[in-house]
């Protein structure tokens, strides 16, 4: 009888275990990794940083743009973060301030202060695929970091530079995206290293490389360099985060429309 019980247990284990493995479909596994990767960068509460954006054309001509910004993490998991961006260069836009309240399913709320006009304007945020300041980075690349904005699929593992990555495919589930799909490579610490973007026609448009990962507060991984290579027009944009500080205790009210004028000129 005792032996019978043993066999039974083995039987149960054997039937359950493979069943459990095969229970996770490619979509579920993709979603699980994407969620873990997203949560890797969460818990920062708030953040301040200076950012450099270097635009390089196919001839090698370079221009640098400088902005500084603050971000407030939304503790409500069903709503997006708030951010305030101050533009320093080019000099003709110095003093421009942009406030954005991102949302997961709805369009974001955005306000812009332009020194030349001296007024705060509510602007449309349905421009998902538009270029940010003439760069190869689209507005949706900033607002679309939440894993819930995509459908996911695990494609398998891929070895690149002697390192094994999870290969994931994702399709935007929000309107007006410029992309038909994205393919990402994520390492075993759930950090994204490479992201290929395919345009609406299904052609490879650009590749994003995330580099200089830094571990903050012993638990949050953030890439301090982002490089975007546009395959079609051969332009390159490099984004660098400088002086990034997390959990500095920013007042929530700094992210309200009326606070834009405190930063404005």
């Amino acid at each position: 009888m005792k032996r019978m019980k043993y066999v039974k247990i083995i039987f149960i284990v054997f039937t359950l275990f493979p069943f459990h493995l095969s229970a996770e479909t490619a979509e579920e596994k993709g979603l699980r990794i994407a969620k873990a990767s997203y949560e890797n960068g969460r818990g920062f509460t708030d953040m301040v940083s200076d950012q450099l954006m270097i635009l390089i054309d196919p001839k090698g001509n370079e221009v640098t743009r400088e902005v500084s910004g603050k971000t407030l993490e939304n503790l409500d998991p069903n709503d997006g973060d708030k951010s305030l961006t101050y533009f320093k260069t080019p000099k003709d836009v110095e003093g421009t301030v942009m406030l954005s309240h991102t949302h997961i399913s709805d369009d974001d709320d955005q306000w812009l202060y332009l020194p030349a006009l001296g007024r705060v304007k509510r602007i449309s945020s349905s421009n998902k695929s538009g270029a940010f300041m003439g760069s190869e980075v689209a507005f949706e690349d900033f607002s679309g970091t939440d894993y819930r904005k995509y459908e996911w699929k695990f494609l398998g593992e891929e070895v690149e530079n002697n390192e094994t990555f999870y290969k994931l495919e994702s399709y935007p589930n929000y309107e007006n995206s410029g992309y038909s799909k994205r393919i990402s490579l994520i390492d075993n610490l759930n950090r994204t290293h490479k992201l290929d973007f395919y345009d609406r026609k299904g052609e490879l448009l650009k590749t994003l490389y995330l580099e200089d990962y830094v571990l903050y507060k012993d638990k949050i991984w953030m890439a301090n360099t982002m490089k975007v290579e546009n395959i079609q027009n051969k332009n390159i944009t490099i984004f660098k985060w400088l002086n990034r500080e997390l959990d500095v205790g920013i007042n929530k009210k700094d992210f309200e429309k009326s606070s834009i004028l405190r930063l404005a000129d």
């Binding site: 635009l55 054309d57 221009v63 260069t89 080019p90 000099k91 003709d92 836009v93 110095e94 003093g95 369009d107 709320d109 020194p115 006009l117 001296g118 007024r119 509510r122 602007i123 449309s124 349905s126 421009n127 998902k128 695929s129 538009g130 270029a131 003439g134 007006n176 410029g178 009210k253 309200e256 429309k257 009326s258 606070s259 405190r262 000129d265």
Partner: protein, 396 residues
């Protein structure tokens, strides 16, 4: 005269504040630009014997510093112009010369300030705090700084603003050689006020504004000297006499942002002297993003304004404009459109092009072409003032 003393005092006070800081703690921003401009008038010499060309230099400088760990802020924002032909167009103004103190939910502000009310692109009918400089720009969009003490209370239900405004500034009109200019000169020596305190009247305003979902809403009331005087022909001097009534204006402005569509509305009811009037202006702006699979955007703007005063210059006007933005490294953009008097046949075409040509240089080309203008229209005096202006701004 008193105002000059106060400005000097404010300047010294701000200097004292800056100087009293620990030197290493002073963190400031200073930037600005200088902009030479050349204008050619396309109809030859003007109807009032003005020249067919003009040259001008415009400058703007900004200085900002935060003190005591960003609880206090000092802003100095100066604009000025030297104009070749029109002495009224040469000026210097502290648009902003203010000290701000931030408390938790309250902001206290003292000094010169620019306050914009409204949502429209073209007909800003409710914008009343600052005086216009018509010599700088005949459309009235260029403003002078207004001295004030202001309090802002930021409550979870919205924002409450209170403005107390001493030192009224009279409107500036183009001078004899200005182009465009009114048919007759405005006489500066015969200005009359309804208020017995004249320009020393202390004006006041309150505003409540809030954001609710897709709506940005503002309700405001202004009581004080009207910024816009009545102009009456003096048969003896053959000049225009300006009369500033007391204005008591209540206004509402709303913008609704629905995807690529913006809907805008400004409306007011006001008692101007003894008479009450009503005005409404609004419209829509729709943007096509990624025009024909490029990175450029095309915005289509339609706005209309109505005022129930028959003798008011803009009582039934419409604008149709297109805004093209290339979204390139050079920030190339073009705004072009048509302004038309819906109750007459007067119209005007305008185009504004801009492009960054170097990191610190930007070129602007403005064009304004007057169509046929009715003889009884306020803008009839400008009929032959179609112009092309080239501006190059050097930023520092």
């Amino acid at each position: 005269m008193l105002k000059k003393y106060i400005i000097s005092f404010l300047f010294l006070f701000l200097q004292y504040l800056v100087a009293s800081q620990n030197a290493s703690a002073i963190d400031y921003k200073a930037y600005g630009f200088i902009q030479p401009e050349i204008t050619t008038f396309l109809n030859g010499d003007g109807r009032h014997d003005q020249s067919n060309s003009n040259q001008s230099i415009f400058v703007k400088g900004t200085f900002i510093t935060y003190l005591n760990d960003v609880d206090q802020k000092i802003t100095i924002n100066t604009t000025g112009r030297i104009d070749e032909k029109d002495s009224e167009r040469s000026y210097i103004d502290f648009q902003k010369l203010k000290y701000e103190q931030y408390f938790d939910d309250i902001t206290l502000k003292i000094g010169n300030e620019l306050i914009f009310w409204g949502v429209n692109e073209s007909f800003n009918i409710i914008d009343i705090i600052n005086q216009s400089n018509l010599a700088e720009d005949i459309s009235g969009t260029k403003k002078f700084g207004q001295p004030m003490i202001s309090l802002n209370y930021n409550h979870s239900y919205g924002n409450f603003d209170l403005f107390i405004m001493p030192f009224f500034k009279e409107r500036i009109f183009p001078g004899r050689n200005g182009r465009p200019r009114l048919a007759l000169e405005v006489d500066k020596s015969t200005v009359v006020y309804e208020s017995s305190s004249k320009k020393n009247k202390i004006d006041a305003a309150v505003r409540y504004s809030t954001v609710y979902d897709d709506y940005d809403i503002g309700i405001a009331h202004f009581y004080g000297n009207n910024r816009s005087p009545e102009l009456n022909v003096n048969p003896l001097s053959q000049k225009l006499d300006a009369y500033y009534p007391i204005l008591s204006q209540t206004s509402l402005d709303i913008q609704s942002t629905k995807g690529a569509w913006l809907y805008k509305l400004e409306t007011l009811t006001a008692k101007n002297g003894e008479e009450r009037h009503f005005g409404i202006a609004g419209g829509t702006e729709y943007t096509i993003y990624g025009l024909r699979e490029t990175t450029s955007d095309l915005g289509i703007i339609v706005e209309y304004t109505f005022d129930d005063r028959n003798d008011f210059a803009f009582n039934n006007e419409g604008v149709l404009a297109l805004r093209w933005t290339k979204n390139d490294i050079k920030s190339t953009s073009l705004l072009a459109g048509l302004v038309a008097d819906m109750s007459g046949s007067s119209n005007r075409f305008f185009a504004e092009f801009e492009q960054r040509i170097r990191d610190d240089l930007k070129v602007f080309i403005d064009m304004s072409i007057n169509g046929e203008i009715d003889a009884d229209d306020f803008t009839y005096a400008f009929e032959e003032d179609s112009q092309l202006t080239l501006k190059i701004a050097k930023y520092f």
